[in-house]
Amino acid sequence: MAIEAIAARFSTLRNWLVLLVLWEICGRLQVIASGALPAPSSILMRLWIDRADYPPHILATLEGAGAGFLIGNSLAVAAGVLFALFPMAARLGRGVNIALFALPAIAISPLLVLTFSGATPRIILAAIGCYFVTMSSTVTGISQTDARMIDVIRAYGGGRWSILALAQMRSALPAILSGLRIAAPNAVLGSILAEFGGGGRFGLGVYLLGSLGRAEPDRLWGIGLAATLIAGLAYALFSLIAVRFTGATKAVTVPATAPGGEATSWPLWLRLLLSTGSILIPIALWWLLLIAMGTPAMIAKTPVGLFEYLFLLPNSGVSQMKLLAALGQTLPLTIVGMALGIAFAFGLALMSVLRPGIIRGFMPVALVTQTMPLVALTPLLVLMLGRGPSVILWITISVTFFPAFVTMAQGLSMVPRAALDVPRAYGASLFTQLRLVSVPASLPYLFAATRLAVPRALLGVMIAEWLATGTGLGNLLNQSRGYLDYGMIWAVAVVSVLMSVVFYQCVVLIERPVLARRGMHAAQ
């Protein structure tokens, strides 16, 4: 056993080394994209030359990302507990949750910088980046608590809070930790995106933006690596903690959860009321926030202002046409990119069970794609793939797969031992075990992963459109920023949020009957 483990570790190390050597050779010979991919040695050299520049930038980014991480995740766990305990709150909060998740960071970063000062925009974007992942994994974890344990506590007269304190929080811990694992790179990315919006002299994003025009790919990569390192360390920290807890959380035997939740027993009028509420709350919040901050009306469009812009002004017709044309370009690519991203994540999650060694080797590469700011990667991808739709799809896959993969892998790893013992006893191969037990047993996680992927796919397409192809909603957003057309910025933001909500609801519509038929609960 020990020898096998060492051998596995060794082969992972060997794979990394091979990868590194290949990269060095490609970089040296300028094979890829005529020098857009520099060799690791020249990146390191450049890092050494620039070493005095880094500390203030890293500190500034860490400050924004760290504060955002703390605030966003505290709010997320609290909200997750609230939603898991009170299904009605979950139903009401859904609108706000999806809106927060789907909020295109690039669209609001200039608005935030205009409204707030100092590190606040960074903290807000980093916190928003953390909120949804951690909130939804908290809800998933709590609602997947073994029903038998809850029975024991209830049998001794324990109420909602005893159940929460003694069973649910602890059994949700691995799920929460895997949420934090995804949230960590998100926080770094959020801070960097806010730095792009301007304001402040320090931060890796500021540094990157300043180096962008100078055609020094080795410096861009160096900055990207620094960002990756920060996110990677946070990711590794939470992985380590998670490994310690997951083993002891896995149920030994198969729980037989009672089918059917109480959520479906609400009368129609109440459900309609809750749906209406969940749509109105984000709109009300949007309005109240603008009033509370006193942003000038020219920049800050209230719902009424936006309606006026789109329907009542003399050139509303032109605005509508622009918006619809952009939507027509973005929509099909989003659907394809989403499907590909989810398929890729699913394949990886299966691989993490079938060939854990390969996944261990791949993880750092995957992490780079999450934190390596797309601004640095995009020129490379454009040179490799051109400026067609394929570059959009690749970028979309790269931003979509990661959270979906982590959630799915989490689900697969939580399958109880006894459930796997039955097929194993009949000599089932690992693949058969996956097909018969692991995949069906982790369906709630698979659906939760799909819901996570939906708004991110749209985000990916828009980033790619902005940075690479100059088409669709992403480009419209960028143009509007240039023209100071704040009405259009708001319109794009609102349309992209609405699109995410529609996709999200489609997944929910499929999820509910599928899980109900198998006697499972949807993980919120």
Binding site: A155, G157, G247
Partner: protein, 256 residues
């Protein structure tokens, strides 16, 4: 505590609407367990024994009929710390070690663990798990986990005890030992006990009365009194009277 801790089920019905079909798990079931009595519940698999226990514990609600413990609702009785339960499935928390799992009811009832440390140690000793105090459930065998669940059911000194096939995963010899121990505990505590079992011998050895159930729909068809003297010794298993009672129950199970 006489007269204060009886279990009462009156005309209780419970059906489950599954996906499509409806199962009548319990149909107009009445059972009265006087305070301090020991009742065994026996019947074919799927006849509604566990369902009855869940109703009596207040974990589930009847479609019709009334359930009470000591004259109050099961939930009130549970909150007062009167009840103890061992489920058919051990239902241990995988992150708590043996000691901590046994102490769980104390945590729920907000009772001090330190005051009960001696109790926990003696229960571990009783179920033969000395040396495994710090082991996690994943490191125990099925029978060992079940013994933890039995110890857990006794930690609060319950006046009303529910046991759902608590010895199902134990070997015959250990099972007999545990039967003897359970009788000893019961005689000293006189807790009103409802034991679900598949073992006719176990039911006769332990109970004052054996309620025999039939399925589809689940109902009690016969109550057999066990007039054997207490304390009953293991050699009673081979006595003629014992065999006669066993035959009577077997007949009732067959539907005679």
């Amino acid at each position: 505590m006489t007269g204060q801790s009886g279990i009462r089920l009156e005309n209780v019905s419970r059906s489950f609407k599954g996906r499509g079909a409806t199962v009548q798990a319990l149909d107009q079931v009445s059972l009265d367990c006087p305070a301090g009595s020991f009742t065994a519940l026996i019947g074919p698999s799927g006849c509604g024994k566990s369902t009855m226990l869940r109703l009596a514990l207040g974990l589930d609600h009847a479609d019709s009929g009334a359930v009470s413990i000591a004259g109050i609702t099961p939930m009130e009785a549970a909150r007062a710390g009167m009840t103890g339960v061992a489920f058919q499935d051990a239902a241990l928390m995988p992150w708590r070690n043996v000691e901590d799992n046994i102490a769980l009811p104390l945590d729920v009832l907000r009772k001090s663990r330190r005051d009960n440390a001696g109790k926990i140690a003696s229960l571990i000793e009783l179920v033969g798990l000395s040396g495994f105090e710090k082991a996690l459930p994943g490191e125990l065998s099925g029978g060992m986990r079940q013994r933890v669940a039995i110890a857990r059911s006794l930690v609060t000194n319950p006046q009303v005890l529910f046991l759902d096939e608590p010895f199902g995963a134990l070997d015959q010899i250990l099972r007999r030992q545990m039967n003897v121990e359970l009788q000893r505990i019961w005689i000293s505590s006189r807790a009103t006990t409802l034991l679900v079992t598949h073992g006719i011998d176990e039911a006769v050895f332990l109970a004052d009365r054996v309620a025999v159930m039939q399925s589809k729909p689940g109902r009690i068809t016969r109550i057999v009194d066990i007039p054997l003297m207490r304390p009953r010794r293991p050699d009673i298993f081979t006595s003629a009277e014992f065999h006669r009672l066993e035959d009577e129950i077997a007949g009732a199970l067959d539907g005679h």
